[in-house]
């Protein structure tokens, strides 16, 4: 998903800089999206003017290219190791030659911005390419585009082509700003068999906020959702020796859950945050199934539990839980360590004493809005304690409420315990964010999922074991075949279901598969190889968060190597746009912001200096 906007930096220049074309072209092949945003502008003023190009793209995307064309001369981007690019950038800055690009983080998006001075009468074309793997959530894939041009654009279009070998089962596109039939007629969407298409081409008149207005009503979210047919639980695709295995079985019963909610009720939760937490928990209680077991652990300076042990979600217990939740009040400081350890110990004990069903799965969901500041407050020690207490038996999910917390710590803590962290943004919908998260993990269909391939047939496999498979999600494993000429191979997916163990077997005829995929002109290049590289880098970066010493160095080297090879702007690389004949004359551009303080500082650096003649531009794309 992405958003885009064109803007002059100074409002008074708006009429001088005409953005006459903006095109967003998305090609999605087997969930892997390749997006190109192209904007063309001309400076109609008598003097040089500055033009900005802003695109909002998903945090999960990697920029793969950015080019700038000024009066027909194109300056391509090159991905370099961050340190190398940074030195070049700093040199340029010291020479006063910079024009910059910054990325800032939002909820789902991060912003790519670049400004360039354009001589009088000159034209400039910005082209940004980024790629991402669309993840399945609650039964559908979602592409999110932010649309926000600052002026009417003569030639504005969004074109999305989707190709899914399994066949498309539903496709929808909705824009928050389409509130009338007139603009609605500019949107078309269709799908048939394996192909889907969405097009949005509003004319100038359709873009006007009123018939005589000069401002645009295109301002908001453009969201495309789709899903694929699932006649069989798995689908394997192979092209040029790389394979991807999608696994999403349907029709299985939900595995009963033993869920412990570890809730921060420290003083900082005062006011709306505690109200929203109560609201969310009350809603979640409505959705808990009777076969599930639960408990609430509240932590401030101390730890309070609703019940001494986990209890079944009977109607009576749920009613009692509602009363308990309604009376949650904020107080004291933040003792994350003891809160978590109490919850974990309760789950371990329930399992040991067989007070929860044998075929059930345990989950810890922690919500906090701040850093630990009482009891054991050293993050590293808390991580050590939690890792040891959980012992790989169940996942921990961390919800970071608001901004005043060490999100990197929460993320590391969750990742090393097979879960993940999620930010809950302080906003009117925080309760819905909490509830939405719970819905994602509410329906485990399989536990201890392991995807197995024939030994010695596969190389460079991405993650192939998962604690849980949740209804509406999808497991994606990619890898490389040792022998490209092999005729077939077999993949087994093993997991524990609610009542039985299951082994799904997928046999793949490679020749047939490759033939079928080659016939499709919708497919862009070696998409499976890039998908594999994307997934591998993503997983290496996650692992790196909890690694130390030589292991961290090794993971960094692997991720960097792949980022450079596949031209991905990741936290380890930067993209530098270089004037071809003058390699010293460069300028740094973007950054990939992370969630932690270190990255935030980097992300916040913006460079913008005086006009440089277009004959010697230099730009820098950074990813952190």
């Amino acid at each position: 998903s992405r958003g885009m906007e064109e803007a002059t930096r100074l409002p008074t220049q708006a009429d001088d800089i005409e953005v006459y074309s903006t095109k967003v072209s998305c090609k999605v092949t087997s969930r892997f999206a390749h997006n190109v945003v192209t904007t063309r502008a001309v400076n109609r003023a008598d003097a040089a003017k500055e033009v900005s190009f802003d695109v909002e793209l998903p945090k999960t995307a990697f920029i793969t290219n950015f080019t700038l064309t000024i009066d027909g001369v194109t300056y391509p981007g090159n991905v370099k190791e961050k340190e190398v690019a940074k030195k070049q950038y700093e040199k340029a800055v010291s020479q006063g030659k910079t024009a910059g690009l910054v990325k800032a983080s939002g909820r789902k998006l991060e912003k790519f911005t670049v400004s360039v001075n354009v001589a009088a009468g000159s034209k400039v074309t910005f082209e940004l390419t980024y790629e991402e793997l669309l993840k399945r959530n609650k039964g559908k894939y979602e592409m999110y585009l932010k649309v926000q041009p600052k002026q009417l654009v003569k030639d504005f279009e969004i074109e999305v082509d989707i190709f899914e070998p399994q066949g498309i089962s539903m496709l929808d596109a909705q824009a928050s700003f389409i509130t009338n039939d007139l603009l609605g007629s500019a949107l078309s969407k269709s799908f048939s068999g394996k192909k889907g298409h969405v097009s949005f081409k509003p004319s100038l008149d359709q873009q006007r906020s009123c018939p005589t207005c000069g401002d645009t009503l295109l301002n908001g979210d453009f969201i495309i959702t789709y899903d694929v047919n699932r006649e069989s639980p798995a689908n394997v695709q192979i092209v040029n020796g790389y394979f991807v295995h999608f696994f999403a079985p349907q029709g299985l019963p939900v595995v009963p859950k033993n869920v412990v909610f570890v809730i921060d009720i420290s003083g900082s939760m005062y006011g709306r945050k505690i109200e929203q937490t109560r609201d969310a928990l009350l809603k979640i209680l409505e959705d808990i199934k009777e076969e599930d077991y639960l408990n609430f652990i509240l932590f401030d300076s101390d730890v309070t539990t609703w019940k001494d042990t986990l209890v079944q979600a009977t109607p009576e217990n749920i009613q009692e839980a509602r009363e308990f939740v309604k009376n949650i009040r904020d107080r004291g400081m933040t003792n994350i360590n003891d809160g978590l350890l109490t919850g974990i110990s309760m789950l371990n004990k329930a399992r040991e004493e067989h007070t929860v069903p044998e075929r059930s799965t345990s989950i810890v969901i922690m919500l906090t809005d701040g850093d630990a500041n009482v009891g054991e407050s050293r993050p590293a020690k808390i991580q050590e304690n939690v890792l040891s207490a959980i012992g790989g038996r169940f996942p921990l999910y961390n919800l970071g409420f608001g901004n005043n917390l060490n999100y990197n710590f929460l993320e590391s803590l969750a990742l090393e315990n097979d879960g993940f962290a999620r930010r809950i943004y302080e906003d009117s919908d925080a309760n819905l964010q909490l509830q939405g998260f719970y819905e994602e993990v509410a329906n485990p269909l399989l536990t201890s999922v392991e995807v197995e391939y024939p030994e010695n047939a596969i190389l460079d496999l991405t993650r192939n074991t998962y604690q849980h498979f949740y209804d509406g999600s999808e497991i994606v494993v990619a890898g490389r075949l040792v022998d490209e000429d092999m005729n077939n191979f077999k993949a087994d997916v093993k997991g524990h279901g609610a009542l039985t163990d299951l082994t799904f077997t997928e046999e793949v005829d490679l020749k047939e598969m490759e033939k079928a995929l080659q016939e499709q002109d919708y497919i862009f290049g070696s998409y499976i190889e890039r998908l594999w590289a994307y997934l591998t880098i993503e997983q290496l970066l996650d692992k790196r968060k909890n690694a130390h010493g030589s292991e961290k160095e090794n993971l960094t080297a692997q991720a960097l190597d792949l980022s450079l090879k596949y031209h991905f702007v990741t936290p380890l690389t930067s993209m530098v746009v270089t004037k071809p004949e003058d390699s010293d004359n460069q300028m740094a551009i973007a950054d990939k912001p992370g969630e932690g303080p270190e990255e935030s500082v980097t992300a916040a650096i913006a460079y913008q200096t005086s006009y440089q003649p277009p004959s010697s531009p230099y730009y820098y794309v950074d990813g952190d």
């Binding site: 006649e231 029709g251 009542l499 163990d501 077997t505």
Partner: protein
Amino acid sequence: PHFIIQVRGKKDAICFNIDEEPGTVLRLIQDPITGLTVNGQIIGDQGNSSNSKNRKTYLGKVGIVNSPMDLRIEVTTEKITLHNGAAQSTFSWLDTVTVTSERFSVKINREATVVSFGKGITFKVILHQVWKKHHIHLHFLGFYVLDSDKMSTKSHGLLGQFFRPLAFQVSDLNPGNDPSKIHATMLVKKHRLAVTRGYQKDYRKDVHNGTQVGCWFVHNNGQGVIDGVHSDYIVSDLF
């Protein structure tokens, strides 16, 4: 549908047809000792349904119940559904999946579903597929009991009653006009039945081509070789 009974202790088989209206459910096995019950629902060709003589009928649904395990398995030509207590798992014939628990296993692939209980009781349901766009024939099922000696001799049902030894004698062989269809007299269960030598196909091992099985065909819905009459085995629903 055709029934083939490989008679214990004899290297020979008996076969018969049951001709009933599509939708009819027949009790195939009921074993009071193991608690296993198998019923089958009949489907018919999509052709001229008013002419029952020309209409072919097949098994379209098989319901397997294991009462002690509170397990029901429904196999249709489209899907396989496991009702395990209140929980339900659904699989497609396109799945290749093995479902295992301590007490049973179900193996599904594109050709057959094999259900096993404990040690040795195994049922195999085969999916016979016809050309998708065939305007008359439908996909249908074949049901086989593997190692039927593991079932109790107290079983009854159209198949279950043959899990105990059956004595029969064939005499008066008469070649008739068609040498491949020898007519004869069978003495079985104190009945003298006119039977015809015929061939049916056993698809247990070769799902696509089957294996020819020579058998003595008992006319009139197996009357005389089955206990009672075939309508005694009609039940109200699959479970």
